[in-house]
C-alpha cells in the first residue's frame, strides 16, 4: 500500500545552490537566487538556514523520516557569504523531548460546562467563557 508522503520546509534546487559564490555574494544576492531562508540562527544571526524534511507514513505506523536536509550559509562581517555548510539526516539526533511544561493558568473548560454551556444555547459573541476569581487570571469564583 502507498505511504502518505509529506514534505515540510523548502530546499532550493541543486543547480541554484551551485550558483553560490562564497566571498562575493551579499545577503540580497543570495536571497534573489534561493528565496528567503527557512530561519536564521537565533544566536548565530550571521547564519541563514534552508531546511527541508520529508516523512512517509504507512497505515497506523509512526511517520518515518525519509529525508532531512539542512543548508547553512554563514555571512562574514563584510556582509558577504563566508562559508556553506550542509547537514543530512544522519547528523540529526532523535531526541526524547522533556515532557515537563512551564505552567500557565487561564480558564479550563470542565465537562459539565461543556455540555450545559454548549448545547443549543451557544452565545457566539465570543465571551462564552466562565468568569474567574478577582485576583487570579481566569480562576474560578
Amino acid at each position: 500500500c502507498q505511504p502518505v508522503v509529506r514534505t515540510h520546509g523548502f530546499m532550493p534546487a541543486t543547480d541554484e545552490i551551485a550558483q553560490l559564490r562564497p566571498g562575493e555574494q551579499t545577503r540580497e544576492d543570495v536571497r534573489a537566487i534561493l528565496g528567503a531562508p527557512s530561519t536564521t540562527g537565533t544566536f548565530e544571526t550571521d547564519t541563514w538556514y534552508y531546511i527541508q524534511r520529508r516523512t512517509s507514513t504507512i497505515a497506523f505506523y509512526s511517520a518515518d523520516v525519509t529525508e532531512q536536509d539542512v543548508l547553512g550559509l554563514r555571512f562574514g562581517d563584510d556582509g558577504r557569504l563566508a562559508d556553506i555548510v550542509r547537514f543530512g539526516l544522519d547528523d540529526g539526533r532523535t531526541i526524547s523531548y522533556v515532557d515537563r511544561v512551564t505552567p500557565t493558568s487561564g480558564n479550563e473548560l470542565t465537562v459539565l460546562e461543556q455540555f450545559v454551556g454548549n448545547i443549543g444555547r451557544f452565545n457566539s459573541e465570543g465571551s462564552a467563557n466562565r468568569p474567574g476569581n478577582p485576583s487570579g487570571m481566569g480562576g474560578r469564583r
Binding site: 515540510h8 520546509g9 527557512s38 530561519t39 540562527g41 537565533t42 544566536f43 548565530e44 544571526t45 547564519t47 538556514y49 531546511i51 524534511r53 516523512t55 511517520a63 523520516v65 532531512q68 539542512v70 547553512g72 547537514f87 543530512g88 544522519d90 547528523d91 540529526g92 539526533r93 532523535t94 531526541i95 523531548y97 522533556v98 515537563r100 511544561v101 512551564t102 500557565t104 493558568s105 487561564g106 480558564n107 479550563e108 465570543g126 465571551s127 467563557n129 468568569p131 474567574g132 476569581n133 478577582p134 487570571m137 481566569g138 480562576g139 469564583r141
Partner: protein, 251 residues
C-alpha cells in the same frame, strides 16, 4: 438593560431611597439586583450628585455578579460622561479586570488576554502613580507571560511533530520578544532540542550556553546540559552573537 424582563416596575422614588436600597443589596451580596437599583438611581435622577456615584457602583455590582459585558459597558459610560472625575481611574481599571478574569487557557483564543493588556496599559499610561497602576503593571506582566505560554504551546506542537522550522521560529519569538517571562528558559532548552534534532550543533551549544549563563539553577539548563554532554559537546557561548549580548544586558 431596558429590555430585562424582570425590570423593576417603573416607579418614581426619591433618589436617596433607591441608592440606599441598592447599597443594602450590595452588602448582602445580591449583586445583580444592586446593579439594577443603581441603574434606577441614574435613570430617574440623572442630574443628582448621586447619579455619578451610582453609575460607578452599578459597574462594580455587575462585575461582582460576573456580568462582565454589562460591567464594561457601565464603566465605559462613566468614563465618557465623567472623564475628569477622580474615580475615573477605577473605571479604567475595572474594564481591565473584567477582561483579565476571562482569560482562557493557552490552548485557546487569547483575545481576552490582549484586551486586558490594552486596558491595563491605558490605566498605567493615564494614572501612572495611582494604586491601580501598580496592580495593572503586575497584571500586564502576567498577561504577557500568558501570551508567551501560547507561543510555547504552538512551538511544542510543531516540535513533537518534527516540524522544526515552525518550532524554532516560535521559540525564537519567545526568546526575542518575551525575554522576561517565565517561559524564556524553556524556550532556550527547546531550541537546543530542535537544533540538535537537525544536527546544527553550534546553535544548540550557544542556546544552551545562554540558558546556563542566564538561568544557571534552572532544571531546563540541566536538561540541555545532559543533551549536549550525551553527545560529547559542551555549551560554548559565542560571545559575539547578538542574542547573548542582548541577554546579558537584561540580567
Amino acid at each position: 438593560c431596558s429590555s430585562d424582563n424582570d425590570e423593576p416596575v417603573y416607579v418614581e422614588r426619591p433618589v436617596d431611597q433607591i441608592y440606599n436600597e441598592a447599597a443594602g443589596q450590595l452588602d448582602q451580596g445580591e449583586y445583580r439586583d444592586a446593579a439594577r437599583s443603581f441603574d434606577e438611581v441614574e435613570r430617574q435622577h440623572p442630574y443628582s450628585t448621586w447619579a455619578t456615584e451610582a453609575q460607578l457602583m452599578a459597574a462594580y455590582s455587575y462585575y461582582q455578579a460576573n456580568e462582565y459585558e454589562d460591567a464594561i459597558a457601565a464603566a465605559q459610560r462613566f468614563i465618557d460622561l465623567h472623564p475628569g472625575n477622580p474615580n475615573v481611574a477605577y473605571a479604567y481599571y475595572l474594564v481591565g479586570l473584567c477582561n483579565y478574569e476571562r482569560i482562557s487557557d493557552v490552548g485557546r483564543d487569547q483575545d481576552m488576554t490582549r484586551k486586558a493588556m490594552e486596558a491595563f496599559e491605558e490605566v498605567v499610561r493615564r494614572f501612572p502613580d495611582s494604586a491601580y497602576a501598580r496592580d495593572a503593571r503586575l497584571k500586564i506582566d502576567l498577561a504577557r507571560d500568558h501570551l508567551a505560554g501560547k507561543e510555547m504551546q504552538i512551538g511544542r506542537y510543531y516540535l513533537t511533530r518534527g516540524m522544526y522550522i515552525a518550532a524554532i521560529n516560535r521559540f525564537r519569538t519567545v526568546v526575542e520578544r518575551y525575554q522576561t517571562t517565565t517561559h524564556a528558559p524553556e524556550a532556550l532548552h527547546r531550541l537546543t532540542e530542535a537544533y540538535l534534532s537537525l544536527g546544527i550543533e553550534r546553535e544548540a551549544q550557544t542556546s544552551a550556553a545562554v540558558l546556563g549563563y542566564n538561568y544557571p539553577g534552572s532544571e531546563w539548563y540541566e536538561d540541555s546540559y545532559a543533551l549536549l554532554t550525551g553527545r560529547d559537546l559542551r555549551p560554548i557561548e559565542d560571545k559575539g552573537s547578538w542574542i547573548s549580548r542582548a541577554f546579558s544586558s537584561v540580567f
